[in-house]
Amino acid sequence: MTKIRIILLAVFLTWPFCIFCGEKINISNSPGWESISPRITVDPDGYIHVVWVDKYSAERGDVFYSSANPDGTGWSEPLKLSSSGRVHKSSCSIDVDGSGRLYVLWSTSSSVRLRICTNGKWGSSIQLASGSNKYWHTKIAVSSGGNIYTVWSTQYGRVYSKSKVNGVWESAEKISYGSKRSGSPDIAVGNNVVYACWHEKVGGPYRIMYSRRNPGLNASWSSRKKVYELGTDQSSPALEVDSYNDPHVVWTTYRGGPKEVRYSSWKGEKFSYPKSISRIKSIHYPSLCERNDNIFVCWQMGPTGNGVGIYYNILQYGEWSGESAVPQSGGSTVGDVAVSPDGEGVYFVWNAKDDIYFNSLQGASPSTNIPPVARFSFSPHIGLFPLKVSFDASASYDSDGTIARYDWDFGDGGVGSGKKINYIYQSWGTFPITLSVVDDQGAVGIEVKEVEVLRLFQPLNIRYETFVDESLFFTRYINEVYWERNPKNDEIAEIVYYRIYKKRLGEPSFAYRCIGEVNADVFTFRDKDVEEDDTYVYTVTSVDSEGHESPIIESTAGALLNDNSNKKTWR
């Protein structure tokens, strides 16, 4: 034990000098298909194993597998593990037991399947569940002795678990509540406890729930409990259990739009207050790995399908290392992390540009490269949308080299590259702007600032009445649209006119078309182009002297009357 502690201490002391080994490696090499949802594990001998899904269409795909030497070299040719072509895109999972047996779990549109590799030989797939459900988000945890614990969710928002203990399969058990919206489960096994967690919505926001059981045969799952209530949406949990049988959970959480990664672990009798371990940004799909009681967390930052990169943070001896980026991980969507048995190597996989990539972080000789410093200015800092903002990263520098790349994440889903760049915000809110600069050695520097994009508000209490207008031979229908001034605009801008839009009931919002404008002191509009058999939805926007227009927002005060409740017909 003392020896291990000395080793761990050495790892800790040298950690700041850890570097990435080099170029990312494409391990899927599947030009024909989009490779997604990679999962990684490391066996007791240090060999690296990765599975992923090659997606043929929105609901069809197959699971592929590849392995590599402990130093991340010698990747094997991808091996197809499934043959149905019906694997769900986010459903594969991998784990390894103490004997080095590999366990790969996946789901199709009608079943959950498991395949085991013993001494390099793959067995045939085993069906764990089948039916008319669509099965999603399968996860597997295997004890060192080879007991198997699985979870998955269904399209109906239920989470199930099924285990094989001492060679005996238990029945599948529903562990989420009723028929509420539950999903994205994860499962982890310790020495004498099994934990499962998932996100669930029972009124209010989505919350991370957990349940636990004894690892023994036919042990019952405990009643579900919240990990920690924060009052905001929590989703996509990842779970591990350390050698003390304490669970560690990470998830993403909303904070009025952008997300961050929160971490919580078991302290005494409950989960600790969730700690923020990432910047507040657009964050997706955190992943978690525990090794020697250290916690390794990675996540994707940026828009789905084209992220800024995979970022990570490491908890060692109670201290978080701080957020860092995996080099060359731009364009990513989903990432995963695994750690070598000795804790020296940290391995990342992610999907980007239709392929699966790998990179590793190794404890090695101290690097002489000093990371670049990201600095930028922008103008204006506040304004009405659509807001054109100019960004300038000329103040960034690299003290021992040059900056090779400037990457921008504008916080609203938009990204860009270049030292100087203009960007137009097409929506409103407070957006974190992230500048990531990469030097000629691949080190990353980041700076984050915020821009506030305002919006005008629609007038209040928009409604209309229908009237019949007749001559001797003709009849037409007139809709009189009414609204009231919205005082919220008083502090933002001077409204100079109102713009009236309409669409037919049942049409999507983009079907709104402008039918007229009136001055700001007029609060009614007469629509003479009305078909007798149609029902319309009207909305009104506020426009200031510079042409800024309030967005059309449904279901807010002062927005729409989108039903017939106030429609009256007068002759």
């Binding site: 007749e470 001559s471 001797l472 031979f473 007139i478 002759r571």
Partner: protein, 198 residues
């Protein structure tokens, strides 16, 4: 278009006034002969009974016209007349202006029976109702057919004066259909005519 028609009406009035003078002179000269027909200038009131008309154009109005009759056998004459009826009104909700012009053309037969200074008559006939409506909703020009009955009486002040008065009441039925609406353009007409006998 409506303005053109209105100016046309004015011209017609001037022409009728001139004809009145000429016919008076001609009639005086031909009194010695047995009467062969009449020329009549009429004015009166016309009320369309259609409720929709009442709603848009409020009520009836003046109707003016000219008529010609020819005696074919004793006490029975054929007649032809053409009149003009114009109203402006408001659309029911928006109160925008709307204009309506009706030109009834009638053909018919009458039976009259002189009785001292009166010559009461009764008759019936067919009608062609040309109509036009213009407003911000749409414009239309069309016609329909109808029929009418009429009663009235000529008043003859003197055998030496070839000018009579004609008091009449006429009821017309003339239904048309526009835009799936059945509109009754007929109604009661009452009026007075200045009749020149020749």
């Amino acid at each position: 278009m409506l303005k053109k028609i209105m100016s046309f009406k004015t011209k017609i009035r001037i022409i009728i006034f001139g004809l009145t003078i000429l016919i008076s002179v001609f009639s005086s000269a031909s009194l010695a002969f047995e009467r062969q027909g009449t020329l009549e200038l009429s004015i009166g009131g016309y009320s369309i009974s259609e409720p929709r008309f009442q709603e848009v154009y409020q009520r009836g109005g003046m109707i003016e016209g000219i008529g010609l009759s020819v005696f074919i056998i004793h006490d029975i004459d054929f007649f032809f007349e053409m009149k003009g009826f114009y109203k402006s009104g408001e659309l029911t909700y928006t109160k925008e202006k709307t204009h309506f012009l009706l030109v009834p053309i009638s053909l018919g037969v009458r039976y009259s029976r002189p009785f001292k200074m009166f010559c009461p008559y009764a008759g019936l006939g067919i009608d062609y109702y040309f109509y036009m409506e213009t407003n911000s909703i749409q414009s239309i020009v069309n016609y329909t057919k109808g029929f009418h009955i009429r009663i009235g009486s000529y008043v003859q002040f003197s055998d030496q004066v070839p000018v009579w008065l004609n008091f009449r009441i006429k009821y017309t039925r003339a239904k048309t259909e526009e835009n799936d609406l059945e509109i009754q353009l007929g109604g009661f007409e009452y009026g007075l005519g200045l009749v020149f006998v020749f």
